[in-house]
């Protein structure tokens, strides 16, 4: 397995879309290749940071207040 395939499988693994055989082949590659190991670990980090990104403050408190007032009018 080369690094291109390993990173592809790493991406698929993080979406739980790998077969057991591929997970094992990836595991062996990661034992031997530190660069792909860093890549794989950082995929976990990106997944976590994207969750923070989703929840980060988007609307300002002022915008929320205006929006709430608007929805109250609608009802």
């Amino acid at each position: 397995m080369n690094c291109k395939e390993a990173t592809q499988l790493s991406v698929m693994k993080h979406e739980h879309k790998t077969r057991q055989m591929d997970r094992f082949r990836l595991f062996v590659h990661l034992l031997l290749c530190k660069y792909c190991r860093f890549f794989d670990r950082q995929q976990t980090m990106i997944d976590q940071e994207m969750k923070h990104f989703a929840e980060k403050e988007g609307l300002t408190s002022n915008e929320k207040a205006i929006l709430k007032a608007k929805l109250d009018q609608t009802t």
């Binding site: 291109k4 530190k34 890549f39 990106i46 940071e49 609307l59 929320k64």
Partner: protein
Amino acid sequence: MSKHQLEPEHWIDRYGDVLLNYALLRIPERDIARDLVQDTFVSALNTVDTFRGEASEKSWLFLILRSRILDYYKKKKEVIQSDLQGQDADDADDDFFDEKGFWLPDKRPQDWSTDRAIASKEFMQVLDGCLKRLKAKQRDAFAMKYLEDLETEEICKELSVSSSNYWILIHRAKLQLRSCLEQTWLN
């Protein structure tokens, strides 16, 4: 089977931020994105009768926002998916890997992590900047995957890509995003 309920009085606090963050990934102009989120809430409130409780409240609101975003682009007569043609090609990976598929020396990942439980504001800004550098279709896929929590199959359907093209697209996006984060965060 228990049906989902709507609680409009909590919508803005629960979903205001994530809906706007989602819209901003797909529409760069903040005013427009914010107005679409507002339209989404108003339109949802006007059509609560049509809510059958089969999807969660969150999925339902996202569904409305997604169709608002599509309408917006239709009105602008822009073909959302056009800028990716050709970019998905498998050989587009050659700037990360050599001809045998191994990391090019200057593209090899380095050993780093954000290494903390809560995300810092600075990292969120770096992440935002790097997401903006992705292709529109890649960003759409990220928005649907991480903010809307759609399953892979639904994202493929929504973006009109085959499953194998989805994996090429997301592989490419993750290579680029990781590399951008590394360059920006470590410097």
